[in-house]
Amino acid sequence: MPEDKVMNIVVCIKQVPDAESVKWDHKTGTLIRDGVKSVINPFDYHAIEAALTLKDELGAKVTAVTMGPPQAEEAIREAMSMGVDEGVVVSDRAFAGSDTLATTYTLSRAIKRLGDVHAVFCGKQAIDGDTAQVGPGLAVRLGIPCVTYVSEMEVINGGKGLRLKRLKEDGFDMVEVDFPVLVTTLSTLNTPRVPSLKAKMKAKRAKIPVWTAGDIGADKKRIGLNGSPTKVHSTYIPKFEAKREFLEGSPEEQVDALIKRLKEAGVI
C-alpha cells in the first residue's frame, strides 16, 4: 500500500429483521409478521465502531457496504450518522437467492471497485442467517488474511498493523497482522458510539449510490441463484413439545411439587 494514500477502511453491514419485533406463534407455528422492522445486524454495530476507532487513531476514510434491497440504504444512513464517511448499497434483482458463496463474490466485486483497502470489518455473523461464513469467505476473495471473533484490538507497528485478541473454543490467541486484513467482531470488542447530531444531518442529506451487477462487473454465473451451490431442499417447523404443567399452590407447595418431579426425572 502506498504510504501517501489515505487509509481505506470498509465495513460490511447487513439489514436484518429486528429480532425484538419478530414474534412467533408457537401454538399455530406461524410467524407473526406484522410490525417487523428492519435494523442493522446487531454485531455489525461493533464492526462499525471498530472501523471508526481505527479512523480516529490513524485517520482514514470509512466506507460502509451493504448488499440487499434498495431500502437497505437506511442501514447505510444509520452507519453514516455514527461517523462512517460514505456508503454503497449493492443491489440488483440478479443477486436474489444468493448463498454465502455468491454473497462473498458480490461483496468482493464491490469492495474491489472501492480501490485498495487496508482493513475490512464484519460483524461475527448476521442474526438472520447465523452462518458466520461471509467474513472468512470474503477475505479469501480479497486475498487478505482473516481474523475472526475479535474481542480486543490495538494498533501496532507504527500504524501498519493490528494486534488482535481472537476467541477460540478453549481460550484465546493474541495475533499480530499487518494491513490489509479482514476482522470479524464480537460484541465485547467495543461499545458502539451514539450518532452525533451533525453526522445525522449529513447522513440524511447524503446521496447513497446503488451499485448493480453491471456496475461491479459481476459474472452472471457467479451471482444470485446461479452462483449459489446450496439450496433449500425442504423445511419444517420445529415443534415445541412442552408438557406445560403449571404447579399450583403456595410458593412452598409449588417448590415441593417441582422438587418431587425433578427427583422423579433423576436430575437432582
Binding site: 408457537h26 409478521r33 469467505g137 479469501v140 476473495r141 499480530e176 444470485g224 446450496t230 420445529p238
Partner: protein, 398 residues
C-alpha cells in the same frame, strides 16, 4: 425466479403462511408472488401440497461430480485432546460413508499429533491423513484453509464435515470459498438422501423458528459444519484397522501474514454453559442486580452454570459470555431453569433443546411458559430462596 403454476395452484394459502418475507399473497384463489420481496429462499416450494411452485436457475454451470468420492471429517484438538465433536462427527460420518459405500477419512492437522491418529480409527475412520508441521502448531486460519483445500482438490472427497466450533467456523468457510463450493453452517442433522445420494444438511433457519434442509447438488465437495453435542459418537473400538497416511504440504501454503504471539487456554470457572447438565438463567424479572445472587445461589445448589438473557448482559449485571440465545450461546442441558425470563424468541431458540425446562415468572401469559415443562407462576424473588434452600437440603449441601 419463483414460478407459480396457476393450473396446479389451489389457493390453499400454505405458501403465503410459510413465507417469512411476506412475498406471497393469495389473490382470486391463486398464489401471487411479489418479486421485489421474494428472496428466492425456497421455503414455499417444499410447502406446496400441489407442487405448483418452483425456482428456476438459468445459466448455472453444470459440473461433472462423479469423480468426487469419499467422506472426510476434519478433526479438532483442544488442550491436546480431541474435541468431543470430532468423535461425534466420525460417528455420523461412518453412517454417511456406509450409505454411500465409500471410505471415511479423518484429517488430522497440527504439530506432533501423529500418535493420535489411531484414536480416530478406533472411532470409525478407515483412513487418517496426517498433516504434521511445526508451522501448523498455532491455529492460523488461512494456512489451515489452504492446506485443507489443497488436499481436497487432490483427493476429491464428496463430503467434508467439521465442527461448528470457533476454529471450524473460522477456517472452513475459507476452504469452501477456495473450492468454490457450498457450505452449510451449524447443522444439527446430516443424512444421505436414499434416491439422489445427496447429503441432506439440516440446520435451524430464521433464528430456529424453521428447520431447513439444505443440499448442494451442483458442486463438490458438499460441506457442512455441525454443532457440537448433537450427533452421537461411536464407542472406541481399538480392534478397528485403518490406514495412516502422511502428507507434507507444499511450504508456500503455510505462509501467512498472521502471527500468533500468544495462545492462552482459559481455566473455566465453574461448569461451562455448554458443557453442564444444568443451567439456571436470570431474566429481567429479577428487577435488580443484587437479586442476581438468588440465581447464582440456585446454580450453586444444583451444581449448574449461570445463564442470562440479553437484557441482563446488556445491563452489565454479568458478562456477555453468560448470554443464552440467538446472539449468545446455544445450550441444551438436561435441566434449564428460567428465572424471571419472559421468553423472547431470540432467547427461546438458544435453549429450546433443553430436556426439562422450568419457568418461574409472575406473568402467566409469558411466552416462556409455552415451552416450559413445569411452570411456576410467582415472584422469582420469593420462589428462588425457597427452592435453593430445599434443593441444597435434598442434595446434602449447606
Amino acid at each position: 425466479m419463483l414460478r407459480i403454476d396457476i393450473e396446479k395452484c389451489i389457493g390453499c394459502g400454505e405458501c403465503e403462511e410459510v413465507c417469512s418475507f411476506g412475498a406471497i399473497t393469495i389473490v382470486d384463489d391463486k398464489a401471487r408472488v411479489d418479486e421485489e420481496s421474494c428472496t428466492l429462499c425456497g421455503t414455499c416450494v417444499d410447502t406446496c401440497p400441489e407442487g405448483a411452485l418452483s425456482i428456476e436457475k438459468e445459466g448455472a454451470e453444470e459440473l461433472d461430480l462423479s469423480s468426487w468420492k469419499g467422506v472426510w471429517v476434519v478433526s479438532e484438538i483442544k488442550n491436546g485432546l480431541f474435541s468431543p465433536v470430532t468423535f461425534e462427527l466420525l460417528g455420523k460420518a461412518r453412517e454417511l460413508a456406509d450409505a454411500r459405500n465409500v471410505p471415511l477419512t479423518a484429517i488430522l492437522m497440527g504439530y506432533g499429533l501423529r500418535d493420535k491418529a489411531d484414536e480416530l480409527i478406533s472411532r470409525g475412520a478407515d483412513r487418517v491423513i496426517v498433516v504434521d508441521s511445526k508451522r501448523l502448531s498455532d491455529f492460523i486460519d488461512d494456512a489451515y484453509a489452504r492446506v485443507l483445500a489443497h488436499l481436497a482438490k487432490k483427493e476429491m472427497p464428496e463430503i467434508i464435515i467439521a465442527g461448528a466450533t470457533a476454529t471450524g467456523r473460522a477456517f472452513i468457510p475459507q476452504v469452501a470459498t477456495i473450492l468454490e463450493t457450498g457450505l452449510t453452517a451449524d447443522c444439527t442433522g446430516l443424512e444421505i438422501d436414499k434416491e439422489s445420494g445427496q447429503l441432506l444438511q439440516t440446520r435451524p433457519a430464521f433464528g430456529g423458528n424453521l428447520m431447513a434442509t439444505i443440499i448442494c447438488d451442483t458442486r463438490r465437495p458438499q460441506m457442512a459444519t455441525v454443532r457440537p453435542h448433537v450427533l452421537k459418537a461411536l464407542e472406541p473400538d481399538t480392534s478397528r484397522k485403518g490406514e495412516i497416511v502422511d502428507f507434507e504440504p507444499p511450504s508456500e501454503l503455510l505462509d501467512s501474514r498472521i502471527k500468533v504471539v500468544e495462545s492462552v487456554t482459559e481455566e473455566q470457572k465453574g461448569p461451562g454453559l455448554t458443557e453442564t447438565e444444568i443451567v439456571v438463567t436470570a431474566g429481567r424479572g429479577l428487577e435488580k442486580k443484587e437479586n442476581l445472587k438468588l440465581v447464582e445461589e440456585l446454580a450453586r445448589c444444583l451444581d449448574g452454570a449461570v445463564g442470562a438473557t440479553r437484557a441482563i448482559t446488556d445491563a452489565g449485571w454479568i458478562s456477555h459470555s453468560h448470554q443464552v440465545g440467538q446472539t449468545g450461546v446455544t445450550v441444551s442441558p438436561r435441566l434449564y431453569v428460567a428465572c424471571g425470563v419472559s421468553g423472547a424468541i431470540q432467547h427461546l431458540v438458544g435453549m429450546q433443546g433443553s430436556e426439562i425446562i422450568v419457568a418461574i415468572n409472575k406473568d402467566k401469559d409469558a411466552p416462556i411458559f409455552d415451552i416450559a415443562t413445569y411452570g411456576i407462576v410467582g415472584d422469582v424473588k420469593e420462589i428462588l430462596p425457597i427452592l435453593s434452600k430445599k434443593i441444597c437440603k435434598e442434595r446434602g449441601l449447606d
